[in-house]
Symmetry: D4
Subunit: 173 residues, 8 copies
């Protein structure tokens, strides 16, 4: 509950066109009852805004920042340079190179400044939300319990899908 | 202090030949005064051991697990499937493909199970240690202070290197 | 005949969305008169289920396991770690990186645990079915004969297509 | 025993310079007590020889063929086109592109003709030997038992390496 | 003239689905008045047919062979192994990996057997036809003259397109 | 002359270990008589320093900034975000991925903020120096003349090397 | 003003099919009030035309040349070899390999001849126009002022998009 | 004979540092008794020289041009644009990207101008020499006979190597 009322996670992205992907992070945060805020912040087009966001994040009560960016994806690194909060990077797939550029620009950080990089695109955004919950769960028993439940859901979801697929195959014969 | 006396982070790797890289994670954890344990655990050669490690990690008091693996690097994902603790993956560079295989095998996780992926090799191992500290700092003021100091060190280190380089260039002329 | 009545091959996949690709493996097994079962089993979402599947496969009479998985495709490796049956991996194409991640995650296994990797997508699934038949043919003269016939079919299929194409070109002139 | 006295597996390679890698396959076959033969056969430089090798393999009593080749690695595919025996491909790392070309040329077979592809280089050659053993074990209880033992060896090897590494780290402190 | 009446170039492809691409090679051969034949020949599905085609090509009067193939594209190399005629390879784009596999499988031939590789897809097929004409032009003045004319056509085609584009831009203003 | 006395170009790099590569840029600037300064500035370790450098560059009289960075190479983009001066990026080769990550992180900038990217490593650093000279030559006749001379030098250098190589080949016979 | 009346920048491309991408460069030049000309010039199909364009560019008053080309994209390098004007290269995305070939062919220039390479496709064309403006701004206060304004526009554009996105999210709840 | 006395093939390269690779082409031309000349010609550093070489090649009696170049390897394409002679391209491996850039810059030619691309590095240079011989053999019975002999040599070379390897393995036991 407390977690929901407070804004604990920032979900930022380099462009509003990244939102359909990044909405998956929000969906997971909601699922785990974690309050979050959404902003469009560009490392290149609004550098001062990006710096200010990073520098004030901890003071404003955030505990983790999820960052989506594509191409020469500098936003996660730029934010990580200016905060000691955990920064979680999601490489966008929306480029000529299908997100390989976004991935390498996000993950290949030099020793000293870390970005926790997730998969390219929607699976990565989903997992960014889950990973933020995993961090918060270390000091929040409610979120911890929800994560355990979620793992069970995943497991039973697979079992159900398997059963359904087998039925469909049987019916076709 | 408390952090140092307790083993809070597991540093595991798929092969003992990964240790020269993974030692960098340990070096950073020591710097931030965080107790950790080291194990060789293979997802493929010792799957039961890997499963047991993951399943008992939280109960044994760990708060995060750093995983180094190379090639078809499954260890981080296998561990993440069996724990709700944050799992931090470090792709090993020691393969024919220079670690591109390790990176993709670690980072491209499906939605539902997250691995926080770091850069390939030593910079990644260094940052895995830092990232674990960033997670723990959320509930440990001592580590938080050390992280702030570390950022200052990084900054002054750059300034010193710049000054030294400029002196060396001037002397050569 | 015997081969058809018994379930000799397991065809498993990480997600039900992989079925349109993996159905090609089933199609070939049917063609060669080999009984098989289909399951959705996720290395990451249902790890216990995956482990149990692998550990009981030989006892349940399976002689080979065909595994389809995508992205950080760990399922084939995870299964291969827990059985001495031949495991045949099919990398799924359904990712941002067109299956390059699936391929490397499946094929780059460390020395000690082997996964027989096929091409990305449908050709790979087709060939997984054929390869399972090739293994079973070593001790089943019926399947062996069907494989010889199949090679002849392939050959005459090419000759027919060549003749048809030449007719079509001639008619256009 | 029977397995050792008879030549059951062919280990062929496109060039004698591939032998240091392919010797790993032989090492594993010896470990499992499986008789094998070694030949240099080039799809491009000795095509008739390659065709003859493939066409006579089954008649000569072989049960599987392990093929190492690099660059535009056609040998495994060429052999697989001419036999119904299981063909296991090992991509050589010895090229400008570090074996990525060898891997894609070996694995991306069209539907209809299958090559069971292993990892690039020595781990792949090791696993090719193991995979041949896994196939033969389906009808040879002795090899099957050795494979079970080998899995235990792998497991205890990891445990030993872990213990040794921990001792070394403790001693350094 | 003579060139048109005789079949001087073979245009072969691994699958009839490659024809829409390979038709571009035929279009260029027609433009230069060079007689050619079209066949579907698979290195993997019809290996004997492929070998026979290559071995009889020179005797049947062919002066060059254009080969289109995709994925683990072995056909050009297999043909080149069995003839001393110039073999021109065209990598097909129709694969999960957009033809990168086709390209590497065609171009990375070992020293001793050469395949003249063209670009992936239609531009490559077009250029394969032109390149065959360039070879034949060395001993056929008529083709040589047509090649000179073709270069002029290319040049004036660019000038015309440039003029048209400038007109269109001017009209829009 | 004036150009030499004034510091017109900044040559900055993310780490002092980049200097052996970036020295090539300095070598070319000296050749063209252009004053420059060298600094180590890290986008990640010294972000405030990097921002200050970029924001004050124009005021301090610089006309172009050459930036060398490797891995997740954000420095050029970060600087370009904060100045309207031309920024020239040189991707460092010193990474696991041989500089492919550095290249993509530097060149794939989003529309709105431009980085003029050069080749990976020393050729890129050389060309960065030349390109800065090309920019300055637009308003400095002395540099313009030197660029014309340099092109002649390049041309005669090739002719000399060709002559020398031909002599050496002739002597060996 | 002067800038608008004179043709200061050449925007050339290898094919008229590149125009929809390259039009973005023109759009930015117009925005900054810079006169430009558009030509289709092919390094391969109209080499004399390309050479003449490059050799006369400076004399005709151009101050920079923007070059779009795809595949084996030689045009920018060919032009840069024949002029001392700054050459800005834009790799086209319209190839089998999504522009990776265009990028490497444009950026990996040897030491001695520089091409300022932009991102693949439209963002690159946009930035090529901006970069030309940045060069011209060094000696044109009007363009310099417009560049400062443009940076402000970018910044406020991000703020607006962020506000709009937040409103839309709030409304959906 | 005639072939040896006349200079029929040009072997050119972008840099004298390419000679150790390109010497392999010369070695094969000598083997087949074909006269050739060697030149260093740079598309970028000596464009006029490159153009003149291409434009005069046919008149000077050349029948084919072998071109070695690396990085943004434009030389083969630039030469092919200016001659109707067959141009054979050899991508140099001497770059940060191990020759992948050289390969793509050489092979991905647009429709209209063809370059016959060989493998990266020495195998490619060897095959360029062989391919030139294959072209000349169409109208020179002596070279044609030598090519047939060479194919036999390749074949017996493989047989000898196979025999030697088997002896060595037998001796070790």
């Amino acid at each position: 509950m407390a977690a929901k009322e407070k804004t604990l996670v920032g979900v930022i992205m380099g462009s509003d066109s990244d939102y359909p992907v990044m909405a998956e992070a929000g969906r997971m945060l909601e699922k785990f009852g974690i309050g979050f805020e959404v902003e469009v912040v560009s490392a290149h087009r609004s550098p001062a805004r990006a710096a200010e966001y990073a520098e004030t994040a901890a003071k404003r009560g955030l505990r983790a920042i999820i960052v989506g960016a594509g191409g020469a994806a500098h936003l996660a690194g730029v934010v990580a340079a200016l905060t000691t909060l955990p920064v979680i990077g999601v490489p966008m797939p929306s480029t000529s190179l299908n997100g390989m550029d976004s991935l390498l620009s996000t993950v290949q950080m030099p020793g000293g400044v870390s970005v926790a990089t997730m998969a390219i695109g929607k699976p990565g955004a989903t997992n960014a939300g889950i990973f933020a919950a995993q961090i918060l769960a270390l000091s929040d028993a409610d979120i911890a319990r929800k994560l355990v439940d979620y793992k069970k859901e995943l497991d039973s979801g697979v079992a159900e899908k398997s059963a359904r697929l087998k039925r469909e195959i049987a019916e076709k014969k």
